[in-house]
């Protein structure tokens, strides 16, 4: 044990003394990867725990939650359930989203019978304190502290919300304490809400607390069978997980990106350690010759890697937690993604998670250090003592079969379906292909460098000979940059493909000159038939199409699907329905047709020609799938039905959104003013030109992906640090060579130029390899990971300009880094280095 410690001390501390700066930067690179992983986790976890807390307050002590479409179902169901012997307490509720006037997001409102809710949502109602009775006052509302703050009101103030196309005023009778509910929420008496928002006799949720001894699962199964169409049940756990489910794919993607940074850090450790071990090969062999065992040398090198990992991981978890605080303060719980905007998140350090990330960093770093440690320990001392053995050692990495086998496995994984709605095999495929790509780097680099044409120019030919002669070491030095660059290429292609598809989609779904909706929240805001007629009669309006959007439940346990009732004319200029399959041709008489979005196709297994039932207005309507369309706006799925059929079936002639085509010569701004002038507080209506709406949507898109760009940039930065280390390390090792070249008449700038040339060639090889590998990875991301995460398709598009510019920057950086390393290594010391033995 004592002798092992002596070997560890000699190897690890010797290196620390020799290359302190390089070790510090390696530690920082590991820290960066761990910090990103920790930060993303802390942010997600903070956001979700707040969501979970909020959901728990809403669910309260309910055993079963009965849910229907937002338009609701008859409250008779509540009366019937109240009479059920298995039900101890039942609390009817109306969940609505109000549209406050002004620049405010929609306000979620839970309208309950306060006395009944007190038995189920005890904590929430307790927040009302002594003001319970105040809730029964006409047009009154209680607000959570977060909602009151956002709306800028206090107890006794008044808020104005959209009701139909008019305005409803509500008095704030109480502001709940912050502890009562963490999110923005309004609490109303159910009768008040029904009256104020034209929902008399309708509810959309019933919370049930069952009698003792009742089997909840059996009760739910029995209840499902006698519920009206479109009404389903869910358990408290599903209710609590609802927010988590909505954002799961986005969060998994963020976690994956953080893992990419960590993985790149690991490859950096591998590359740094491998090159360092190769450089110290003869010293290590000397230790072996002096009596250190293989195991001791391996342990010493592994300990060195673990020390690096421990230091980096410790710094990383602390920085990650700090970054989480900062990011939440600046970007919110979804890092700008737009999914969790209602949350006021405070990340709380979780010791177990922090320890987990510390250990993860440690394990990943140790794995990166283990491969070179094992190789060095296995080397025969006699051979390793000879100069030139380093390349021989690096060449052992060259066999192609392990890489090809992993690539085949990765390709097979890409063909497998999602697991639990997540592209588990898709990510496995990316990881396997990435590792396969890394294993194939030495063979490919040797092949590529072997095909670089020779030249008569001495400086260039020496540089090329050096590269060809040290292809194995070059491959090791390229590892970190290839990992980060290929992943960046893959992500860039995926994001660009998505953006291009999204932009094209916007162009198709926004065919009109003006698009309008009463408010962002459609539950209580709508245009009546008379309103619609008024708009159609305005000067400058050539054609107007209205649509009604409402949410329904197709299956218990799933998110609601949006039903969009709109005219489907088959006229391509007006329909704005980007079909990927099927057609828009007029339906045969007596046939009800539906056009489903891709998520509905993927999640519910529906396809063109399939028949399915759609719960509308308490009835189950049979429809036939006529087409599948691309929709990036509703991740839970959307179903377009013909509006005439919808009105005839449900009697609901209201509309929540509309599109206007202008008469020739009419100005969009004039018509927009005319529309606003038609309604009270018309300034609060949302009316945009197609171009403005498109620009706004693309702005949201870019904000949502800003974090991914940041994470990608960090990964590439780590990779570049790796390249810089590799060049620095090699330049140092070749100091005597440079000294000899200077002696025989090579100018200093020629030596530096030679190194810059080597850097450029290596950079080119790395970039070319990264581009090919990244493109292959992007195919998995676009066609497997994206599709299985979000259930929508995107068309592959390659951002040539962006990738070209990035490639040039990387190649130039490699050249500059190599030249800088060369400058440092070709000073006077290099001339003296020829006195050193090689």
């Amino acid at each position: 044990m004592r002798s092992t410690l002596a070997v560890v001390r000699t190897v690890a501390l010797g290196r620390l003394r020799e290359q302190p700066l390089r070790l510090v930067v390696t530690v920082l690179a590991v820290a960066l990867g761990v910090a990103l992983a920790t930060a993303v986790y802390a942010i997600n976890s903070g956001a979700l725990s707040e969501f979970g807390l909020a959901a728990r307050k809403l669910v309260g002590e309910a055993d079963v939650v009965v849910r229907g479409a937002r338009t609701g179902f008859d409250e008779d169901l509540f009366v019937r359930l109240l009479g059920d012997a298995s039900v101890e307490e039942a609390s009817p509720a109306l969940e609505i989203e109000l549209a406050p006037l002004g620049d405010h997001p929609p306000l979620a409102v839970l309208a309950v019978d306060p006395f009944r809710a007190a038995a189920v949502q005890r904590e929430l109602v307790a927040g009302l304190g002594g003001e319970l009775m105040a809730l029964f006052r006409p047009a009154s509302i209680a607000l959570s502290a977060a909602a009151a703050t956002e709306l800028g009101v206090a107890r006794g103030d008044e808020i104005q919300v959209r009701s139909g196309s008019g305005v409803q005023r509500l008095e704030v009778v109480q502001v709940l304490p912050a502890a009562a509910y963490p999110q923005r929420l309004g609490l109303m008496d159910i009768a008040t809400a029904q009256w104020a928002f034209d929902r008399v006799g309708r509810i959309n949720r019933i919370d049930l607390r069952l009698a003792g001894g009742v089997d909840v699962a059996r009760f739910r199964t029995a209840l499902e069978a006698r519920l009206p169409p479109g009404v389903t049940t869910s358990g408290p756990a599903a209710e609590r997980d609802r927010a988590a489910n909505v954002t799961r794919a986005y969060r998994v993607n963020l976690n994956m990106l953080a893992m990419v940074a960590l993985l790149t850090g690991a490859f950096l450790v591998f590359s740094t350690q491998a090159l360092s071990v190769l450089r110290r090969r003869s010293s290590l062999a000397l230790l072996r010759a002096l009596g250190a065992t293989r195991r001791q040398v391996e342990a010493a090198l592994l300990a060195e890697g673990i020390l690096l990992g421990a230091a980096g991981s410790a710094v990383g978890v602390l920085v990650g937690q700090a970054v989480a605080w900062l990011a939440l303060a600046r970007l919110g719980g979804d890092l700008g993604g737009g999914y969790l905007h209602a949350v006021a998140v405070v990340p709380r350090p979780e010791p177990t998670a922090l320890l987990g990330f510390f250990l993860l960093g440690l394990v990943v770093t140790a794995a990166g250090a283990w491969v070179p440690a094992r190789e060095a320990a296995r080397a025969a001392p006699a051979r390793a003592l000879k100069a030139g053995d380093a390349e021989h050692a690096a060449r052992r990495l060259r066999p192609a079969w392990p890489g090809l086998s992993l690539a085949a496995l990765g390709a097979a994984c890409a063909l497998l379906p999602p697991v639990g709605g997540l592209p588990v095999f898709g990510y496995a495929s990316v990881a396997l292909l990435l590792f396969a790509g890394m294993l194939l780097v030495p063979a490919t680099a040797a092949w590529l460098l072997g095909h670089v044409p020779g030249t008569r120019r001495a400086v260039v030919s020496v540089a090329l000979a050096q590269l060809k002669g040290s292809a194995g070491q070059s491959a090791v030095s390229l590892a970190a940059i290839i990992v980060s660059f290929s992943l960046m290429v893959a992500m860039a292609i995926m994001v660009y493909s998505f953006r291009e598809s999204f932009e094209r989609w916007l162009g198709e779904v926004l065919p009109a000159d003006l698009h309008m909706r009463v408010a962002q929240a459609a539950d209580t805001a709508f245009w009546s038939a008379a309103d619609q007629a008024d708009i159609a009669a305005l000067d400058g309006v050539r054609r107007v199409e209205f649509a009604r959007q409402l949410s329904v439940y197709l299956e218990a346990g799933r998110e609601p699907v949006q039903v969009i009732a709109r005219r489907v004319s088959g006229e391509s200029d007006f329909d704005g329905l980007p079909l990927v399959r099927g057609d828009l041709a007029a339906a045969p008489p007596g046939t009800a047709r539906a056009w489903i979005s891709e998520p509905v196709h993927d999640l519910y297994g529906l396809d063109v020609g399939h028949r399915f039932t759609l719960p509308l207005a308490g009835k189950a309507e049979m429809l036939t799938v006529a087409g599948i369309w691309r929709d990036y706006g509703r991740p839970g799925g959307a179903i377009v039905v013909d509006r005439d059929w919808y009105v005839a079936t449900t009697g609901d002639g209201t509309a929540s959104q509309g599109a206007i085509w202008l008469q020739p010569g009419a100005r969009a701004s004039d018509v927009e003013h005319a529309v606003r002038a038609e309604f009270p507080r018309g300034d609060a209506l949302q009316v945009y030109t197609g171009g403005a709406l498109k620009e706004m949507s693309l702005g949201y898109f870019d904000r949502a992906f800003a974090v991914t760009y940041l994470l990608e940039a960090v990964a590439v930065l780590i990779g570049l640090v790796g390249v810089s280390f590799a060049f620095g390390s090699q330049a140092l090792a070749r100091r005597a060579e440079f000294g000899m070249l200077r002696h025989v008449g090579m100018l200093r700038r020629q030596v530096v130029g030679m190194l810059a040339g080597e850097g450029v060639v290596l950079g080119l090889v790395g970039v070319l390899y990264g581009l090919v590998l990244g493109f292959l990875l992007s195919l998995v991301l676009v066609y497997v990971v994206n599709r299985q995460s979000f259930n929508w398709s995107i068309d592959l598009a390659v951002p040539w300009l962006q990738l070209g510019a990035l490639s040039v920057v990387l190649v130039a950086s490699a050249g500059v880094t190599a030249a800088l390393s060369g400058r440092a290594a070709t000073g006077t010391n290099a001339l003296r280095a020829v006195r050193e033995d090689w």
């Binding site: 000879k386 100069a387 030139g388 390349e391 008569r456 120019r457 001495a458 400086v459 030919s461 020496v462 000979a465 050096q466 060809k468 002669g469 040290s470 005597a736 060579e737 000294g739 000899m740 200077r742 002696h743 025989v744 008449g745 090579m746 100018l747 200093r748 006077t828 001339l831 020829v834 006195r835 050193e836 033995d837 090689w838």
Partner: protein
């Protein structure tokens, strides 16, 4: 360039590494005649290699004159000194310094490549030089495929292939066994004379020094004839 009788002339040369410490070399006087092969001996650390660096224009003296064929080396820019070495000087080092990723022929041809020699001439001179050092059949081999003595022969061939007027050898046999060392020293001397060059052999070995025409000893920061200190 004029062609005086001497190749290298050093007068009153002083070199210090730290201003507050005594100089490493103090008042060195030395003349190397055309075709002459001189050995400079001395204990480790007396400044032999420093003197060699100064002779090669790799370092600058603090005082004194260092003239190569009438050209003051101290006044040359780094580039000019490098070009002078490229065309006029050859080097042999103790640690060989043969590039491991080039073949023996390419290592030998390196000075000609740097000088931009035409390919046919370059190949012919490389082949001739390899033959001259007894490595005619080893042109395509890499350093790892050669013995220590063979590698040093490659280094000698490289030092002389471009027909320099001055060969500087710094402990060229320090890493070789006595028998191989003897062969290499004989070869070095023979090739210097065969090429009509002049040479300076830095060594601490009496036996090695005795292969030269004249022996000087660097002692007490000055260069004196061997007999003067004995």
């Amino acid at each position: 360039m004029s062609s005086p009788d001497w190749v290298l002339k050093i007068s009153g040369l002083v070199k210090r590494f730290q201003p507050d410490r005594p100089p490493v070399l103090d008042g060195i006087e030395f003349e190397l005649r055309r075709g002459e092969y001189v050995a400079i001996m001395g204990e480790s650390g007396v400044g032999k290699s420093t003197l060699l660096n100064l002779m090669a224009g790799l370092d600058r003296p603090d005082e004194g004159i260092l003239s190569f064929y009438g050209q003051d080396l101290a006044r040359l820019s780094d580039d000019a000194a490098t070009r002078l070495r490229r065309h006029e000087m050859g080097f042999v080092f103790q640690a060989f310094h043969v590039l491991p990723y080039l073949t023996a022929a390419d290592n030998v041809g390196l000075p000609l490549d740097l000088a931009g020699a035409p390919r046919p001439e370059r190949d012919a001179r490389v082949a001739a030089m390899l033959e001259a050092v007894g490595l005619a059949g080893h042109a395509g081999r890499f350093a790892r495929e050669l013995s220590g003595g063979e590698v040093q022969r490659v280094a000698i061939a490289r030092a002389l292939v471009h027909r320099p007027r001055l060969l500087l050898a710094d402990e060229p046999t320090g890493n070789l066994d006595p028998r191989t060392a003897g062969q290499v020293l004989a070869l070095l001397r023979a090739q210097v004379h065969a090429q009509g060059a002049s040479g300076v052999l830095i060594t601490h070995s009496r036996a090695a020094a005795e292969t030269a025409d004249r022996i000087l000893v660097l002692d007490g920061r000055r260069l004196v004839p061997a007999g003067a200190t004995a």
